[in-house]
């Protein structure tokens, strides 16, 4: 199945938007001020990416919808983000593993996108790659540190790997399957530094790309969209 540019823009934009919302949930709740700022920074990088992709999606659609309208006035089943992005934060280990899996995938996907003949996509990807490189470094460092830390942190990171692992298949559905070997090689190399390894194969859960989401997305959207739904077009 060939992906339309509109579908691709919505997928990549929704991935960034939904994960951004998740990361910003940590604001004021992270274990330290340093982590609090780091997670919000990553969230805001992703929000910027989402804005570019969704504005472009709006242009491609040609129905006069911009990024804000697409973010705040679509229903759950219209979102095309991967299921990994919408998973609840859980503990800090799960947030880091989710980010590590996602950023590892995003890096490979965007390296490809940067070579796209579509100059909008290529420009967004080129800008985002610098951000993603840092997100990956940050999350990979924490995965190693937790995996190689105390018995408690190691248990938590292993639990997180198993939790997030079920949502990896979806990242490599369709044409993106060619990226999987490179992804697994990079991820395994990082995990090996902490004496961790990828979980055994499981039956992956998919559906987000087609708008079939977990129960978690509805709750996330209720919070994210509330103000614009109650006061459409409100500005502050």
């Amino acid at each position: 199945m060939t992906q339309s540019p509109l579908d691709l823009a919505l997928r990549l934009g929704d991935d960034a938007l939904i994960l951004s919302q998740r990361l910003c949930e940590w604001c004021g709740h992270a274990p330290t001020l340093e982590i609090d700022l780091a997670l919000s920074n990553i969230g805001l990088d992703l929000l910027g990416q989402a804005q570019f992709f969704l504005d472009y999606a709006g242009q491609l659609e040609g129905a006069g919808r911009d990024a804000d309208v697409l973010a705040y006035h679509r229903e759950e089943h219209e979102f095309k983000n991967c299921l990994l992005a919408e998973q609840p934060n859980g503990d800090f280990a799960r947030t880091m593993v989710r980010q590590f899996f996602f950023s590892s995938w995003q890096l490979l996907r965007f390296q490809e996108l940067a070579r796209s003949s579509d100059e909008h996509f290529a420009a967004i990807a080129a800008k985002a790659l610098k951000e993603i490189a840092y997100h990956l470094q940050f999350s990979a460092d924490w995965v190693v540190r937790l995996g190689d830390g105390t018995e408690e942190s190691r248990t938590r990171v292993q639990t997180a790997l198993a939790w997030c692992w079920r949502f990896v298949d979806e990242l490599f559905a369709g044409d993106d399957g060619v990226l999987r070997p490179a992804w697994e090689a990079r991820v395994s190399a990082t995990l090996a530094q902490a004496g961790l390894s990828l979980p055994a194969p499981v039956r992956g859960i998919t559906g987000g790309r087609e708008g079939r989401h977990s129960e978690h997305l509805g709750h996330l959207l209720a919070e994210m969209q509330y103000l614009q739904r109650v006061h459409p077009g409100a500005q502050w």
Partner: protein, 94 residues
């Protein structure tokens, strides 16, 4: 709970040609995560092009009690200020 995360002093170089300036401190378990924390806390608004982090306990400070002996003797030696020279306009950061 005992706080076992060490403190690091953070220095930022605002732009090439300037020296690193102390801007504050962060908590971090090791040097590389201290650099990441410093980046996230102190360079979010394009404040710098380079970072140094130094373990706070590596810094030996002067004793405030010695301040009079250390610093007061300089007070009446204004001839040490290079105020008798004309500084060319194009010399910055002096």
């Amino acid at each position: 709970m005992k706080n076992i995360t060490p403190i690091w002093e953070v220095f930022v170089r605002a732009k090439n040609g300037l020296s690193h300036r102390h801007v504050g401190s962060v908590h971090a378990a090791d040097a590389s995560s201290a650099v990441e924390a410093a980046r996230d806390v102190y360079t979010r608004r394009m404040e710098g092009v380079s970072l140094w982090v130094v373990p706070s306990n590596a810094i030996t400070a002067s004793d405030p009690g010695d301040a009079a002996a250390l610093f007061a003797p300089a007070e009446d030696k204004i001839y040490r200020h290079p105020t008798f020279y004309t500084v060319p306009d194009n010399v910055k950061h002096i």
